[in-house]
Amino acid sequence: MTESQIVLEAKGITKQFPGVLASDNVNFDLRKGEIHALLGENGAGKSTLMNLIYGLHRPDKGEIIVNGKTIDIHSPNDSIAAGIGMVHQHFMLIPVFTVAENVMLGDEETKRGSLDRISVAKKINEISKQYGLDVDPNALVGPLPVGIQQRVEIVKTLYRNAEIVILDEPTAVLTPQEAEDLFRIMRDLTTRGVSIIFITHKLKEVLAVADRITVMRAGRVINTVKPSETDSAQLANMMVGRQVILTVDKKDHEAENEILKVEGLTVRDQRDLETVHNVSFSVRGGEVFGIAGVQGNGQTELSEALTGLRSPTSGTVTIDGKDLTGKPPRVITESGLAHIPEDRQRHGLVLSYTVADNMALCDYYHPPFSSRGVIQPKALDENSRKLISAFDVRTPSPFVNAGKLSGGNQQKVIVARELSRDNVKLVIANQPTRGLDVGSIEYIHSEIIKMRDRGVAVLLISAELDEIMALSDRIAVMYRGQIVAVVETKKTTREQLGLWMAGAHVQSA
């Protein structure tokens, strides 16, 4: 790409939040028609910088220059007027509004005082056609798939004639196919003169689509590089500030006796649809058994049935020789299950409880945490201090509410609670690293491997194929509620697994 005109420049941006310097003298620039990736771990200050540029917060120091003019941004109104649009990580869409209502909100077209839905729909159709976005202006937003909702967000910015579009972690919620689609749209936008700031913490993505990459860490810009001049390892080092092991260090380990045995398991979801059909497999001590598959192929219901959160319609679940089919979670937990649930905020933690309380959620009812029905705060305190240091949980104190921690640290609280119990025979980890930063992922992976090396059986469910391949000894592929293949990791390839995940039925052993 030729060196073209600079459309946006942030100079010396500083922002102090209570307790953290979220943005420390940051300089950043964006050229016309480029995709400039902003890479960094959670909490590195990427989103803060963008919120400052977009006017959701005010910088303490520094200036923002758009098209050569310093502008004073007090609210999103000012940045929208300057041609800046932002697609937030959590979509800013109103589910009960139509696409057209969502798009026009804040910039409504009216005819004699009432909303002019027809002309807005027309404008959306034009934008849609021009950029290949394909959205229906009259559809309700709520039921739309996330990929389409994201397009609505992009249409929202283009409707306001944005020339600079900020995409905040846009791929976090997308399937690989949807992400590919998004990259195509992003390239389309740049050929039409739109400049894009692409915020992410995924290394592969920046190398694939960015023209330039700026890495941030702890509120500072570390470096700006071109993808052709760098590689994943170097970027990861810049992000984390130290050497990062991108591959999981895993010794060969002999699998032992069978711990988890699942036979003919069939499960229905809350809409009474059969989402798991007649699934059988077993996991032995000392092995990681990975279940790969595109999300929504029955993994959620499978793990719920195994952990006692949902009763299967038929089939049996045996843990270490004990039939635990349809037993309550406490019985299964006491039989040696450690469960890292898919949704850490809803099923893993009580966000309004302290870290110390959350760390005792599985064992609060027996000694040492309870004595004759009374909770022993001292025991909770000691336990949490021990776990916080052993599992490197970054929290100001054990008495902070779990909801205040970052995603990575919340996950560490769960991992600490589950893996530290004495009688663990089986670990079920469902999407254990989703949405986490590199450092936390690395840590959680190493903890999982440690359990395996201690002879514990591990069932890993993940939609991230890289994660499955890095950790598992054996891999099963789930497709439409069935296990379509089980292979040893060494005897398969990414491509082969990808085919199975897409539904190519090849049975193998």
């Binding site: 609210s75 999103p76 109104n77 932002m86 869409l93 509004f97 009216t110």
Partner: protein
């Protein structure tokens, strides 16, 4: 449109009307009974309708308002009191005093809701507690001032309530005059036209309430203001990111809601009867919340639900009118407490969600924090 819901409402209203027609047909022709009961229904549903509209505006903007009862009560008192002062102390003509009374009532509603807005939007107090504060404050304030001003030898008015300027007049809609020629010489035809005319002859607040229902519905679903109001009640952050001032929108809508509640208060002491007694709202603010919920937070739906409650109250009134012709097997309907229970039983029934579930605005009751 939710036809199941409106069907249920229509069914209940038809049942209530049928009972009255059955009981009263010995004394009056059915058309006359139906029209006069319809007229009563619309009139007595007025405070419920306005209360429900008050709730719709507040909650659509994301602020739960259980203080409507208290806002109504305070507005009823100060509207009435303002009228008395204007008439007796400042010696303004009755019509001006009455008009100013309505103004004071609306102003009182606005001020009470401003308090609620400050508590729930700025200070982020739990909104149920904020609303309860309003209700308790209203009972205490009106009861205390009522006593201080009018009771006992040492009170401001020396122990007697001065005469008020009266109530708002009925507005006659000239349907009879316009259509009497169609009837020619037929006397029954003329009677029928007059009977129908009774439905439309309402007092100003009752009439205004019906107009406000349709106006509010239009504003909420077809204007910029309405779109933004609903946006801040559903997803304030989304509204904020497109440059809408969430705090301002919420304040404005809560105050609009308070003005509706104020107008409902004026109905009691300026349109219905020219007097005040402690606790006169008698739970109607809460019933209007039930109507709002049953109407799924839409003005027209809330109005339809208010009419059900109005009809059950009209039933009670008509049972008094027809007391001498009630057949013995229906005589239990004369017992006011049985019929009087209908609105409350309906409220409970509706809130169980048997007639389909309603969905409140997603951010209803959640303070906005950046």
């Amino acid at each position: 449109m939710d036809w199941k819901r409106f069907g249920f409402i229509a069914l209940i209203i038809i049942v209530l009307f049928s009972v009255v027609v059955m009981v009263g047909q010995a004394k009056q022709p059915p058309l006359l009974i139906v029209t006069s009961m319809l007229a009563t229904t619309i009139a007595v549903a007025t405070p419920l309708t306005l209360g429900a509209l008050s709730g719709v505006f507040c909650e659509r903007a994301g602020v739960v308002n259980i203080g409507i009862e208290g806002m109504m009560l305070t507005a009823a008192f100060f509207g009435w009191l303002g009228g008395i002062y204007m008439f007796n102390i400042f010696h303004l003509p009755p019509s001006v005093s009455i008009g100013l009374g309505v103004f004071f009532a609306v102003l009182t509603g606005a001020l009470m809701s401003l308090l609620h807005a400050m508590l729930s939007i700025t200070f982020k107090v739990d909104q149920i507690i904020g609303g309860t504060v309003i209700n308790i404050l209203a009972v205490g304030l009106t009861g205390f001032l009522n006593r201080q001003l009018f009771f006992g030898a040492g009170s401001v008015f020396g122990g007697s309530v001065p005469s008020s300027a009266g109530v708002l007049p009925t507005i006659h809609i000239p349907i009879t005059e316009l259509f009497s020629s169609v009837c020619g010489t037929s006397a029954t035809c003329l009677q029928n036209v007059q009977a129908i005319n009774r439905v439309f002859d309402q007092k100003p607040i009752a009439m205004g309430a019906v107009l406000l229902v349709f106006l509010s519905h239009y504003i909420l679903f077809n204007t910029r203001w309405g779109l933004r109001t609903r946006a801040v009640g559903e997803h304030p952050k989304a509204a904020d990111t497109v440059g809408i001032n969430v705090i301002k929108m919420r304040y404005a809508n809560v105050i609009i809601g308070g003005m509706f509640a104020g107008l409902a208060g004026a109905y009691f002491t300026i349109e219905s009867v020219p007097s005040f007694e402690p606790l006169l709202t008698n739970g109607r603010g809460f019933i209007s919340l039930a109507a709002m919920i049953f109407g799924n937070w839409t003005p027209i739906g809330a109005w339809a639900a208010s009419l059900v409650f109005g009809a059950s109250q009209a039933l009670l009134i008509n049972m008094q009118i027809f007391r001498d012709v009630i057949p013995p097997q229906w005589s239990f309907l004369q017992e006011s407490y049985i019929v009087g229970l209908t609105p409350y039983i309906l409220t409970m029934f509706i809130l169980t969600g048997i007639i389909g579930k309603t969905t409140p605005p997603a951010a209803d009751g959640v303070p906005y924090e950046k």
